[in-house]
Amino acid sequence: MTIVLDSTFAKPEDVGKVLGVPKARVKWLKRLGSSQTIFSSKIAEKKNGARTSASAKKRNHARGKAKKAAR
């Protein structure tokens, strides 16, 4: 027997609401889906030769510049 679903397609925010997940964590879990954050050093321990995402490179570059300016 096949069930034809007539309900709305649950979005991550809906699932988070039902399961009591705070909005900030829903946001983090959604970001986790994008390839940019998979290699973030915050999430996974970086090993030798691990890839760094473009956004992380940009962020680190900006952080370095800010440090230099502060000196």
Binding site: I3, V4, S7, A10, K11, L19, L32, G33, I38
Partner: protein
């Protein structure tokens, strides 16, 4: 005129919580989320004296239920007993569904081996369980045969894509939760949200 309230269906997931079952656990979450449904499990319920009441309430609130009865073996650790939770919770759902005469059958049984259920739970004769063979693809294919969503129907390869995405994210989710137990409450809810995000991305309109 009042705006009609959006309804989101929840699926009560009745599965064994042991490490050998981890892949299928993630597969069921991926498959259920691929249909835009919300997985619910007794993992959400803290251990307490009113646990049974809470399980009943959770099962009642879910429109559908999926029961995996493939773990019938004895526990290797002492005391060597089989797990009765899954058949017991299936019984609760069947009883509740039979009270609601207007409702169509909404509970579905999965097994790893064909015909085994005829011996382990012969009262279910006449009910065809979905046989997954202990494989992720088998469980996803079984879910695909149960549900159909017009306009946003996921295919088995899409469900596999969601499953693989979740497996990739699992270490980060475990690390954030500060545990290695994939069946911890926080890990379960986080995986459900991550699965929904992945499904929303993979299964297009």
């Amino acid at each position: 005129m009042a705006k009609p309230k959006k309804r989101r269906d929840e699926v009560f997931l009745n599965i064994p919580y042991d490490n050998k079952f981890e892949k299928l656990f993630v597969a069921y979450i991926a498959g259920i989320s691929a249909f835009g449904l919300v997985p619910r499990a007794t993992l959400e319920i803290p251990d307490s004296s009113r646990r049974l009441e809470k399980i009943l309430r959770l099962a009642r609130n879910c429109r559908y239920s999926v029961h995996d009865l493939s773990r019938v073996q004895l526990d290797p650790k002492k005391p060597r007993v089989p797990r009765f939770n899954m058949p017991f919770e299936l019984g609760l759902c069947v009883a509740y569904a039979s009270q609601n005469k207007t409702q169509k059958p909404n509970w579905f049984v999965f097994e790893a081996e064909a015909n085994r259920i005829d011996k382990s739970l012969s009262d279910l004769k006449g009910t065809d369980p979905r046989i997954h063979g202990g494989a992720v693809r088998g469980a996803l294919s079984g879910l695909c045969n149960i549900f159909r969503r017009p306009g946003r129907q996921p295919s088995v390869p899409q469900m596999m894509q969601i499953y693989r995405g979740l497996r990739r994210k699992q270490p980060a989710i475990l690390e954030e939760a500060g545990t290695e137990d994939p069946f911890a409450k926080r890990v379960f809810v986080d995986i459900c949200v991550a699965a929904s995000a992945e499904a929303d991305r993979v299964v297009a309109d």
